[in-house]
């Protein structure tokens, strides 16, 4: 591997203009307020849903609404919508990992009784 000092700044420039545009994206106040109103509506929806006779669907509905709220916050308040793919991957990846933990945990607990042998 070789070292030179010449082409350094050009290469860097090419690498970072993209990052530069992403790093300093300024979101309009209007967008923020719209997102805020949407969050308020979903908050009302989640409470309303808890009063509705949804039976077994209470949890999925509540979690879906919570997820939508979280996604709105992450995308706009946390600027992920305007960020590099890496930030997307990080955000989605962490959610995926929680899912992984829960999925394998439940695979044990849900399958516990299947053998009809005490303790299996």
């Amino acid at each position: 591997m070789a070292h030179t000092s010449h082409s350094h700044s050009q290469t860097n420039l090419a690498q970072t203009t993209d990052a530069h545009a992403q790093a300093h994206h300024v979101i309009e106040v209007r967008t923020y307020v719209l997102i805020y109103i949407a969050l308020m509506l979903f908050l009302a929806a989640t409470v309303a849903a808890s009063f509705m006779p949804l039976g077994a669907f209470h949890l999925p509905v509540a979690m879906t609404i919570a997820l939508i709220k979280a996604v709105l916050i992450v995308l706009f308040f946390m600027h992920v919508y305007y960020s590099a793919p890496l930030t997307w991957i990080t955000a989605v990846g962490s959610l995926l990992w929680v899912g992984l933990l829960l999925a394998f945990l439940l695979s044990d607990y849900l399958a516990r009784g299947w053998l009809h042998i005490l303790g299996k």
């Binding site: 070292h3 290469t11 695979s107």
Partner: protein, 552 residues
């Protein structure tokens, strides 16, 4: 053109070791100095953990309990041995010492992304370590390093809460290191240092760092739950109150199985650097090895239930975990095959680092294959909690991680200190460690298969011969491990004779002087080619030349 040649334009610049005041060390943010701080600390903890292991092996020389007086003290010994070795040596050893020192050098950066957080991680580690020593002195803990409930939450009379706090704190040191590495690899690479020009050392450490960030917090929370349950008895793991002790095992192994890869992936990192250098060939299947590291990191999260086959977990979940566990063998085998293929038709030099590395491949293969045996449900039920398991994970952790750590220390010692060490003593130590290790732990496979359970301080008389062999092996291993400490420290008394590149190795870290200067590089770095461009013929000439310089 090498960076060291450029260095002499305006006189020799200060190397990173030149400022020797205590304050300059304790307040340093230089990744190399933090690496040295870690090196000293992990060595101390390794010595303490090793000493405890020695006492245990002495106890196990005879079937009756005689050396440690009570079973209780034996329980505390094996717990402290596990806690110290895992949390204070194996997890930080390679990443925090060699990773810290080398990653910025290898990717052409002046430092890690967050130098202050790097120093902070050392302080957090030291706080955890001091608490660990405190526990060791004032009463110990007897739950095993696994802290299984309900024993840890309801029955143990030892310092479980203090130990929980210790592990919690130490975990943060690991998270901070992981965070730093991940971000460093993403943002601090020099121009031209694309992902597929990264040395495999960096790839492996990247995978390790991902596990540190993703898994360690789960350990933290599960250990907090143990502490909470122990203090307030609110029933989190108490079946009488609707809790489930097995939930703890799930959360614990969600960290602790990936943690095995936190320990061994950095070992792969070291070996991937040493094998091509001493075989004088480009590494075989670069991309396969790189992706195998990431694959191991990901698969590592899918298999934790194979520690729980006899715990009361659902048999169906057990079967799924068992099948998935076999998956990990694929990337691991890819690595072993590729290292071996790199050796093929290479002009191999058996210097100390290479001897350790070859030892690693052999021992890791045995550890890995016995791991497959343990991953199969049926066999595991037979040998669960026997010495077979003990032998298996020591083959991975001592035969794997510790061998790789020593290989790495010997390989980069000239870079770290600027000095060479006596090659003959190095080779002897590699040989002693290999022989001593096998004599210590191979009999334990047999013991376990014959049914000797782990974690007891007495055993049936028919197991004595194999136990005596094991203890004898441990003493050889101890000699082999103490030797490097002596001759490496003695080498510091010599003048700096290593030169920038004593092994004729490729890689950016070998293009700067030994020891490197504070900011690593004097000129901006531009990378223009792949790593491991070893050509056998040319390299051999260069290597012969370097050897010649050494001896004169």
């Amino acid at each position: 053109m090498s960076a060291s040649a450029l260095a002499h334009h305006d006189g020799p610049p200060a190397d990173y070791l030149s400022d020797s005041t205590v304050a300059s060390w304790l307040l340093t943010t230089d990744h190399k100095r933090v690496g040295i701080l870690y090196m000293i600390s992990v060595t101390v903890f390794f010595a303490v953990g090793g000493l405890i292991a020695g006492l245990m092996r002495l106890e196990l020389m005879t079937p009756k309990g005689d050396v440690l007086a009570t079973p209780d003290s034996y329980n505390r010994m094996f717990t402290m041995h596990g806690v110290i070795m895992i949390f204070f040596f194996l997890v930080p050893a390679i990443p925090s010492v060699l990773g810290n020192f080398l990653i910025p050098l290898m990717i052409g950066a002046r430092d890690l992304a967050f130098p202050k957080i790097n120093l902070l991680s050392w302080y957090v580690y030291i706080i955890g370590g001091l608490m660990g020593v405190w526990i060791l002195i004032f009463g110990g803990i007897d739950t095993g390093w696994t802290f299984y409930t309900p024993f840890s939450t309801m029955y143990s009379n030892t310092m479980v809460v203090t130990a929980a706090v210790t592990v919690f704190i130490t975990g943060f040191s690991s998270i901070l290191t992981g965070l730093n590495f991940v971000v460093t690899v993403h943002t601090m690479r020099a121009p031209g240092m694309t992902w597929f020009r990264l040395p495999l050392f960096v790839w492996s450490h990247y995978a390790t760092a991902l596990i540190m960030v993703l898994a360690t917090p789960v350990l933290a929370i599960s250990i907090v739950l143990v502490g909470l349950e122990r203090l307030f008895h609110v029933g989190i793991f108490d079946p009488k109150l609707g809790g489930d002790p097995i939930l703890f095992q799930h959360l614990f192994w969600f960290y602790s199985h990936p943690a095995v890869y936190i320990m061994v992936l950095p070992g792969f990192a070291v070996i991937s650097e040493i094998i091509p250098c001493f075989a004088r060939r480009p590494i075989f299947g670069y991309r396969f090895i790189a992706f195998a590291s990431v694959a191991i990191a990901i698969f590592g999260f899918l298999v934790w239930g194979h520690h729980m086959f006899v715990s009361g977990q659902s048999m169906y979940a057990g079967a799924v975990f068992s099948i998935l566990s076999f998956l990990v063998a694929i990337p691991s085998a890819i690595k072993v095959f590729n290292w071996t293929a790199t050796l093929y038709k290479g002009s191999i030099k058996f210097d100390t680092p290479m001897l350790y590395a070859l030892g690693f491949i052999g021992l890791f293969t045995i550890g890995g294959l016995t791991g497959l045996m343990l991953a199969s449900l049926a066999i595991d039920v037979h040998v669960h909690d026997t010495y077979f398991v003990v032998a298996h994970f020591h083959y991975i952790m001592v035969g794997g991680t510790t061998m790789a750590y020593l290989a790495g220390i010997h390989f980069w010692w000239p870079k770290i200190s600027g000095r060479t060490y006596p090659e003959l003593w190095g080779k002897l130590s590699a040989l002693l460690v290999f022989v001593g290790f096998n004599l210590t732990f191979f009999p334990q496979f047999l013991l376990g298969y014959l049914g000797m359970p782990r974690r007891y301080f007495e055993y049936r008389p028919e197991f004595q011969v194999l136990n005596v062999m094991s203890t004898a092996g441990a003493s050889i291993l101890a000699v082999g491990l103490i030797m490097p400490l002596v001759y490496l420290l003695l080498s510091l008394r010599q003048p700096r004779n290593a030169g920038p590149n004593p092994w004729g190795a490729t890689g950016l870290e070998w293009q700067v002087e030994s020891p490197p200067t504070t900011h690593n590089f004097h000129e901006p770095v531009l990378v223009t080619c792949e790593p491991y461009l070893y050509s056998p013929e040319e390299a051999e000439r260069e290597y012969a030349h370097v050897q010649h310089v050494h001896s004169s």
